[in-house]
Subunit: 337 residues, 2 copies
DNA sequence: TTGTAAGCGTTATCAC
DNA sequence: GTGATAACGCTTACAA
């Protein structure tokens, strides 16, 4: 039988109210002597308050729900760690859910979260969510931080990097290295990340007076295997290009494989850039030039923000939080004569 | 205001008991007409039962606690995914905690789990846990599955691979390729994984009549950076060796870096093997020869097992579940003349 | 087939 | 400073 507040109360010879006061550190309303006596009994018995019962009254679970597409993409463990660390520091814990970019799976997880009264949620890549589900979240007033998501709602808090700027930066870099035919390997076509990066691509093309060629645009759904297939198809089109921008590093690895299959040398014959800067990028051969997203910091920021929402400290918080990217120049881009 | 079972009951003109029966799919005790009427009201109002209130009565949260050392080691996302997928399929969700091989951090998480009445826990690499904490877990009767842990207790259920056999297999493989001076790069010295693999190493040495040389044994705590440092130190000792076995692939990457720094060619001058077969191993140059651990399957198995414990289906379950490894021969091992 | 009512372990309100 | 007691939203005997 688990020990409850009632047991502690009778053991200490006080009321449960008093015990409750002690465990909640209500500074007033209990004498020092009583406090100490109660603490002793609590410790002697290894008493742990029942968080469920507590939650029933307070309507808060001290749990942060984290919903992301795919934990095996190495970008997300870093991101999660940022959340985890921050949450732990604030006495929250995080429940990890993978939605797999599948609206119904995401809904199942979101339902689970509301049923369990999670205190807040960090929702990454909320691109496929149905309007209905979104409506429901609003109705339930879930404290939510959206990350890399297209949810643009004047209420919602969004965290992301400046994708436009990042892509424009690489485009200009590639241009400066002599590239004019630049392919674009997107992730999930309608996702926020891909869409905004594509806009950056178009904008840069325009600025650099390079005509846009639809045939140089392919999509790999952010996953390695699909990217490999997409790049094969791109090559099969026989439309010449000297560089390719990949919307994440995993897809860049897929691209590497596709080029290797065809004996196309990187970077001599083709230059490749990625996005994310996952830890393995610098261990590829050649070392991948890529745009670094501060995954861990984004996790931290997301957690801090959602906790601030939960605790009602919303003064200084911006609706739109933008972190910086950094172009990591390594060896996968070469000059074109 | 959130809608409760009472609201549904009055809206449907029945008692809350009836509503409860309906949402719990108690097949008997409610007429088809009533059932349908109640469902309609539930759906019209988007009613979601309060899992907290439910948990208070049933003492079960349908949450599985997952405690692992470090989610950024790419082995764990695969493992977690196996758990997540299986849990979801059984209507459980998982709460992810990183213990960082720190006993006090692990205790905080474990406490959180018991306070929240998690239904079960999957505890990976439980190597640093204090006896006291362990004792507490037993007292609270937490349904726990230990993975790659040294917790050897006739009660506890353990899941792991046959580390002895795996290491002996590579050792014989290296031997067959002509290697006689083989170094050992361990993870955390007293961890279950490292200790058992080291035993396998000793055993193989013995079988192959190779004298053991303590100077060829170093430790890198399972992390890339420490492994790099450890290998540098190993090289500084000037004790010749032609191959090194690393206790995980992340450390093998660290070893690659250390060898690269010194202009030592892999595999021409030094052969390297890893352990885990994380997805990036085949993308390294040279492609890493390594021992594959079935991470996803281990996750699945862990989740299935803990769910079986929770649901009291313990007949067929073994206390000691051992999965197979597989030697993935790639390009980081060469012949010695 | 349906409903009443007692609990689950807390917090919160209000007396004393 | 301390303690009854009523919630919180649900499940589950037990009755009807």
């Amino acid at each position: 039988m688990k020990i409850t507040i009632t047991d502690i109360a009778s053991l200490a010879g006080v009321s449960i109210t008093t015990v409750s006061r002690v465990i909640n550190n209500k500074s007033k309303g209990v004498s020092e002597t009583t406090r100490q006596k109660v603490w002793r009994v609590i410790e002697e018995n290894n008493y742990q308050p029942n968080a469920i019962a507590r939650g029933l009254v307070t309507k808060s679970s001290k749990i942060i729900g984290l919903l992301l597409p795919d934990i095996t993409n190495p970008y997300y463990p870093q991101f999660s760690k940022g959340i985890e660390d921050t949450a732990t520091r604030h006495n929250y814990n995080v429940i990890l859910c993978e939605g797999g970019n599948d609206p119904s799976k995401e809904k199942v997880h979101l339902d689970f979260m509301t049923e369990h009264y999670v205190s807040g949620v960090v929702y990454s890549n909320a691109d496929v969510i149905s309007d209905e589900t979104l409506e429901q979240m609003k109705k339930k007033e879930m404290k939510t931080v959206f990350v890399d998501s297209k949810i643009i709602d004047d209420q919602a808090i969004n965290i992301h990097v400046d994708n436009h700027k990042a892509i424009e930066e690489v485009m200009h870099y590639l241009y400066s290295r002599g590239h004019r035919k630049i392919a674009f390997l997107g992730g999930i076509k309608d996702s926020y990340s891909t869409a905004t990066r594509f806009e950056g691509y178009l904008k840069a093309l325009d600025d650099l007076f390079i005509p846009f060629d639809q045939r140089l645009v392919v999509y790999g759904d952010f996953v390695l295997e699909k990217a490999r297939v997409a790049v094969r198809q791109l090559l099969d089109k026989q439309v010449p290009f000297s560089a390719i921008i990949c919307c994440n590093d995993m897809m860049a690895v897929g691209a590497y494989e596709a080029f290797n299959e065809r004996q196309i040398k990187i970077p001599e014959q083709i230059s490749v850039v990625g996005f994310d800067d996952i830890y393995m990028s610098k261990h590829l051969t050649p070392r991948l030039t890529t745009i670094k997203q501060p995954a861990y910091e984004m996790g931290q920021k997301s957690a801090e923000t959602v906790i601030a929402m939960i605790e009602g400290r919303l003064e200084g918080i911006k609706k739109n939080i933008i972190l910086d990217t950094e172009l990591m120049i390594r060896d996968s881009v070469a000059d074109i004569q």
